[in-house]
C-alpha cells in the first residue's frame, strides 16, 4: 500500500490527516517532530538555511522511513516557496524514491492547481467529495484557531495547571473523528462551552503581550521552545495574529489595507513582514504591555521588518524582545530572556 507524508506544523496535522484520509485511499503518516527528526533534518540541510527547512525535512525523512512514497509540502511567500524543490533534491540524493508535490507555490493558494495535484494522486476522486471534505477541513482549522485564541488569552491564569492542554487534546481527538460538517459544528460549540467553564483567575490589571514574527516558528511549538507557554506561565495573556485561518483566508485582503494605512511603508516587504509591522502598531495602540517577536535565524523578510518594528514600538514606548531560533536544544536561554522580559513588564506596570 502506498502512503502519503507531509511535514508537521502545530496541530494542523489533524485537519490535513482528516482530509487526506477521507479523499484518498492511501495510508497517511502522522507527522512528528522530535529530537531525532530534528537531528536528521539539520544533518542533511545546508547550514545557513532557516530552521523550518530543517524541521520539515526531518519530519519528511521520518515519513519516508515509515514507508511514504508521496510527499506534500506547503510553500510560502518567502524562500520557503523553494524549499519543496530543494528538499526533493536532497531526499533523492539520499536514495529515497518518492514523488513530491508542493500544494502552495509562491504563497498562492490556487484551488484549481490543488485540485489537479490531488487528481494526479487519486485519479478516481469525485469533485463533490473533495469539496465536502475540503470544507469540513477548513472549518476545522477555523474552529481550532478560534479555540486557540481563547486558550492563549486564558491559559496563563488557569486555576488547575494543565486543564487547558488536556481539554485541547481531547478536542483534537474528537475533531479527527467527526462525521460531517454539522457534527463538527456541534463538537465545536460543546468544546467552546467546556473551555469557558475552565476556571481562570484573572487579576484586574493583568499583563498583555503580543506575539508576532515568522509564521512557522510562531506556530510550531517544537520550533520555538513553547515560548507561548513560557510566557503564559508568568500570568500573561497572549495575543497572536498568525495562524492558518489568517494566512489562508484573511491575509490577502488585509494586506492591501495595511499598505494604505502604513504611511511609511510602500512595499509589502515579503512574507509576513508588513503584517508584523502593522500588528506592532495595532498592539501598541491597543495598550499591550510588550511585544515578543520570534523568527528563525536568517529569516530575511523578518530581518527587514525588525528595524521598522523597533521604530514603531519606540514611538509608543512599548518594549519589544526579539528571538532568533535555530535547531539548538537548550531551553535555558529562552527561559532567562522571557523571565527578564516579564520582570521588566511587571516593574513598568507597577510604576
Amino acid at each position: 500500500m502506498r502512503a502519503i507524508a507531509f511535514p508537521k506544523l502545530a496541530n494542523y496535522d489533524v485537519p490535513v490527516l482528516y482530509l487526506l484520509s477521507h479523499v484518498t485511499n492511501y495510508k497517511i503518516i502522522k507527522p512528528i517532530i522530535n529530537l531525532n527528526t530534528t537531528e536528521l533534518g539539520s544533518k542533511y540541510s545546508p547550514d545557513f538555511v532557516c530552521a523550518p527547512f530543517k524541521y520539515t525535512l526531518g519530519s519528511l525523512i521520518n515519513g519516508l522511513d515509515k514507508g511514504a512514497d508521496i510527499l506534500m509540502q506547503f510553500g510560502g511567500g518567502c524562500r520557503y516557496g523553494y524549499y519543496a524543490s530543494l528538499q526533493e533534491e536532497i531526499l533523492k540524493d539520499l536514495g529515497y524514491k518518492f514523488k513530491m508535490y508542493n500544494l502552495v507555490t509562491a504563497g498562492h493558494t490556487d484551488l484549481k492547481r490543488m485540485y489537479r495535484i490531488i487528481k494526479e494522486i487519486e485519479p478516481n476522486i469525485k469533485l463533490r467529495k473533495l469539496i465536502r471534505y475540503g470544507i469540513i477541513s477548513i472549518m476545522m482549522v477555523k474552529y481550532m484557531d478560534i479555540i486557540d485564541d481563547y486558550i492563549r488569552e486564558n491559559i496563563g491564569f488557569e486555576c488547575e495547571k494543565g486543564s487547558f492542554i488536556k481539554l485541547k487534546k481531547k478536542m483534537l481527538n474528537d475533531f479527527s473523528k467527526c462525521k460531517g460538517l454539522f457534527h463538527l459544528r456541534r463538537l465545536y460549540r460543546k468544546y467552546k462551552r467546556d473551555f469557558k467553564k475552565i476556571k481562570v483567575d484573572k487579576p484586574k490589571d493583568y499583563i498583555k503581550v503580543g506575539l508576532i514574527g515568522e509564521l512557522y516558528t510562531l506556530m510550531e511549538d517544537n520550533a520555538n521552545y513553547c515560548v507561548e507557554y513560557e510566557l503564559a506561565k508568568h500570568g500573561i495573556a497572549i495575543k497572536r495574529f498568525t495562524n492558518v485561518t489568517y494566512l489562508l483566508l484573511k491575509k490577502r485582503k488585509l494586506v492591501k489595507n495595511y499598505l494604505k494605512k502604513m504611511k511609511n511603508i510602500k512595499y509589502k516587504l515579503g512574507a509576513d513582514a508588513l503584517d508584523n509591522v502593522y500588528h506592532t502598531e495595532y498592539l501598541c495602540k491597543q495598550g499591550y504591555d510588550g511585544i515578543v517577536h520570534i523568527k528563525s535565524s536568517f529569516c530575511t523578510p523578518e530581518i527587514g521588518a525588525m528595524p521598522l518594528i523597533n521604530k514603531v514600538a519606540k514611538e509608543y514606548d512599548v518594549p519589544v524582545i526579539f528571538f532568533s531560533f535555530d535547531t539548538n536544544t537548550s531551553k535555558v536561554g529562552v527561559e532567562t530572556r522571557i523571565e527578564a522580559f516579564v520582570d521588566m513588564l511587571k516593574m513598568k506596570k507597577e510604576m
Binding site: S297, I321, F322, S324, K331, E335, R337, A340, M351
Partner: protein, 314 residues
Amino acid sequence: MKKCYLGVDIGSISTKGVVIDCDNNIIAKEYIWTEGNPVGAVKKLVGILKSQVSSDYALKGIGTTGSARKLIGLMLGTDVVKNEITAHAVGTTSLYPSVRTILEIGGQDSKIILLNNGIITDYAMNTLCAAGTGAFLSSQAKRIGVDINEFGDMALNSDNPVKIAARCTVFAESDLIHKAQSGYEIKDIVAGLCRSIVLNYLNNVGKGKKIKGPIIFQGGVSKNKGVVKYFKEVLGEDIIVDENSHLMGALGIAIISKKYESDKVYSFDVSDISFITKGHECSGCSNNCEVLKIYKNGEMIDAWGNRCSRGVNS
C-alpha cells in the same frame, strides 16, 4: 546575632558570590572559575565565603542567578532563583541609583539594560551567537600567548589598533591571523581585539538602543582596561566601572533574597552534599524528551525537561 544574605552568580566561565548584611554592605566576596563544574565551583565558593564571614552572623537568605541558577538553587535549597538581567539591574541600582545604561559583557553572553528611575525600561541580550564576549577574548589571548590579565594594560600601550572585522568571531579570527602573519605588533593586535569587542557589542546587542549616561560597564570583561578605553572612545561618554563590577549580579540576587526572608536559617555547609545530574532520553512517546534528573545525596529531588510524568518514572 546579626543577619546576612548570600548571593551566588554562577556564570559559564566564573562563579561569583557575595555575602551582604542588612544594609547591603558586602561583608564577604569571592570570584572563582567555574571550569565547567558549577556544583564543585559553588561548593568551593561557599567554603571560601564561610571563612570570610565572622561567626556572629546568621545566614537568613540565599539567592542564585546566572546560567546554572536553577541547579544551584536546588543544591542550596533556596527558592530565590532569578534571571541575571533583573539581578544585575537590582545590584547596580543599589549602588548607583541614577544609572541609565548598564553594559554587561560576561563569558558567554552580553547584555544591555536601559533604566529610568531605577526601573528597567528596555534590555537586550545576545541570542544564538557568542561573538563579542569574554570567551572570544580569552580564546584569542591564548592563541597569541598573552595572559588574559595583562590583556588590558597591553592594549592601553597601543596607539595604532589594527582593524578587525567586528561582526562575526569566525571572520574576526581569520582577520586576526592575517594581521598577525603580516607582522603587526602584538600590542596593536590586542588593542584591535578590544576595539572589535566594543564595536561588535554595539552592533549586535546595543543595536537601536539609545545609550544615555550615566553608563556603567560590568561583567568580567569590564576588568579589561582596553575594552573600557574603547567604549569611552566610541560612545564619547564617561564609563563607570565599579571595583566590584564583576559581582553586581551576585549582589543583586543577595538583595532580592532579602525580600523573601523567612524564618528559615540556611547553612554555609554544602561541601559534603553529593549532587549528581543524570540526563537521558525518554522513549515513552514520539516526543523523545531529554530528561534531566537531579539527585541530592542519592535521592532524586527534581527532574527537568519532561513534558509529562512518564519521563520522570522511566
